[in-house]
């Protein structure tokens, strides 16, 4: 089909702006996880070691809240950037959930099980990326609500029954664990262990991916870039 080029052709997949946001998010989520799980698992030695490492139970709380404020600030900035900037608008259009994504998901499962012969063709973001993005966004919004209501405990206790705070504490902890495990597992597979990217998809650092990878994993995006003359 195409002529063999001397070296692999690269295309930009993550702009510098998104790489910075992504790295800040990694850092913030790690701080939140380490300080949060230290409290959640304070009964075992690792939790206790972490609390000591984080400067005691009170400073741990301070770190956790500082990171949480930073995370919420990033959320607000991200929402602003996605809605108002040119690049953000384009990306929002790409990552927006459509009925097609659910159809793709079902088709992928059917293909993997062998009941259909055609694997779905993804655009820049397939159902894996989109589910992850929107899952994380909703998760952060929800965990912020429970987190803030626990932080402002005197305020919350004035209006809500105590059982709400008990629930908020449980939901906050388990939701954090839930999100952490999904992010971990999903990233480990999609960005590290997946045969097409093993040992790691470098896009989060360099911003670039191989055009050939795009052709295999995101064919619609590949076609689009070809039509636009980028490739």
């Amino acid at each position: 089909m195409e002529t063999q080029s001397p070296g692999p052709v690269y295309v930009i997949r993550m702009s510098l702006m998104f790489r910075i946001q992504h790295i800040l998010l990694i850092f913030t989520l790690l701080v939140l996880a380490v300080t949060g799980f230290a409290l959640m698992y304070h009964e075992n030695w690792l939790g206790q070691a972490l609390i000591r490492f984080e400067g005691g139970v009170l400073f741990r709380g301070f770190l956790h809240r500082a990171a949480a404020v930073f995370l919420m600030a990033q959320m607000i900035f991200h929402a602003y950037y996605m809605v108002f900037s040119g690049e953000g608008k384009r990306e929002l259009g790409e990552v927006m959930l459509r009925g097609q994504d659910f159809a793709d998901f079902l088709q992928a499962i059917r293909f993997n099980l062998g009941s259909v012969t055609e694997y779905p063709k993804f655009g820049k973001y397939g159902y894996k990326e989109k589910f992850q993005y929107w899952g994380a966004t909703t998760g952060i919004l929800l965990i912020s609500i429970t987190g803030v209501s626990l932080w402002a405990e005197t305020f919350s206790m004035k209006f809500l029954p105590k059982v709400f705070l008990d629930l908020a504490l449980i939901v906050h902890g388990y939701q954090g664990l839930f999100a952490f495990l999904i992010l971990l597992l999903w990233h480990v597979y999609n960005e590290h262990l997946h045969p097409s990217v093993f040992p790691m998809n470098n896009a989060w650092l360099t911003g670039k991916v191989k055009a050939e990878w795009l052709r295999q994993e995101h064919p619609l995006e590949y076609e689009k870039l070809k039509q636009e003359g980028v490739l």
Binding site: I109, F111, F159, L160, V163, V171, F178
Partner: protein, 355 residues
């Protein structure tokens, strides 16, 4: 005859030697007789500068029945030699006999040595004349074994003994659930020493104290965490575990001194059951109690159960939500892993198809 005479002689000699070796407490008798010349008069007393009266009446009966029954005046008042006393006799020093390895066989343990480190002992050392010495708590002439119910430091009497100086605290304690239980003769109820310890009493602000902010929970749970004790009175033992799991409890375990411990909410000497309108944890008083740390606490603070354990069904919705999340997380992980395996399998198939 001669034999009998020799025998009598030997016996007499032996008796003589015996009399030399083991003299009857003649000295003691003499001392007692001499002392009671003055101290045996019932009206023998001294009016102190502050108007208080010091009774100086003491007879052979003073020590009767006490652990020092066989002792005599100068055994303890050993600084008395002249009559009338040239100087005012000093206060009795119990460690004159009660030291480790003493020849008298006076009981001595490290527990009582802890007194010298205690808030009372150090106050004495600093020259506080109001601080108690041994005899201020144990009594002077009528010292009885602690196990003896009539002893000033028996479980039933020790609060009153402490209350001689700590009057207000004694009044609070007497009306508290612990004081009332003690008055009813419930042996498990704590008296002062139950929480504060006996000889090693420290100020609650001293980290060595059994009632220091970070030690309170452990001290209360000695009884309140024991099912065998609490089941007798129909009191839950959950409170200890649920406190430890709470924000307050975790911060406390990791050394926060400002976070609420048991006594921050339930009080110290004035602990009463929640149903009592005077209790600090009675719903009517909860806003004030919580308000000590959470300014602006309102009656809504009293809505709902304070001590809950999300791992137990009694926690209701909290338990079910926690269980839901547990299975949701496990379920999602399994589904994700299944999807990953399926995806890897499908991808190999897809790439093979491409060739």
């Amino acid at each position: 005859m001669r034999k009998a005479a020799i025998f009598a002689g030997i016996a007499a000699a032996l008796l003589g030697v015996g009399a030399l070796l083991f003299p009857p407490p003649a000295e003691a008798r003499i001392s007692l007789e001499k002392c009671t010349l003055c101290h045996g008069k019932t009206e023998f007393r001294k009016i102190l500068v502050d108007g208080k009266i010091r009774e100086l009446f003491a007879t052979a009966d003073s020590l009767k029945g006490s652990v020092h029954e066989k002792k005599t005046c100068v055994d303890c008042h050993f600084d008395v030699s002249d009559i009338p006393h040239r100087e005012r006799p000093r206060r009795v020093t119990c460690t004159h006999c009660h030291y480790k390895g003493n020849a008298e066989g006076a009981p001595q343990s490290d527990a009582s040595l802890a007194y010298f480190e205690s808030v009372h002992g150090t106050a004495i050392a600093r020259g506080n004349v109001k601080a108690p010495l041994c005899q201020d708590c144990h009594g002077s002439h009528q010292i009885l074994k602690t196990k003896n119910e009539s002893s000033a430091v028996s479980q039933r009497n020790v609060a009153e003994t402490c209350g001689r100086c700590h009057i207000e605290i004694y009044a609070q304690y007497k009306m508290s659930i612990h004081g009332v239980a003690m008055a009813k003769g419930i042996k498990e109820a704590p008296s002062c020493t139950g929480c504060h310890g006996e000889h090693m009493i420290y100020s609650p602000k001293d980290p060595k104290s059994t009632v220091y902010a970070t030690h309170i929970a452990a001290q209360c749970s000695k009884c309140h965490g024991s099912i065998s004790i609490m089941s007798k009175f129909g009191i839950e033992t959950e409170q200890v575990a649920t406190y430890k799991e709470s924000f307050h409890g975790v911060a406390n375990q990791f050394g926060s001194r400002t976070v609420a411990n048991c006594s921050s909410c339930h009080g110290t000497h004035e602990i009463r059951p929640a149903a009592d309108p005077l209790s600090s944890v009675n719903p009517a008083n909860v806003p004030k109690t919580c308000g000590k740390c959470h300014p602006g606490a309102n009656p809504n603070f009293a809505v709902g159960k304070m001590h809950i354990d999300a791992k137990k069904k009694e926690a209701g919705i909290v338990y079910y939500v926690a269980s839901f999340f547990k299975y949701l997380t496990i379920g999602t992980m399994l589904v994700l892993i299944a999807h990953i395996l399926l995806d890897m399998y499908g991808r190999t198939k897809r790439l093979r198809g491409e060739k």
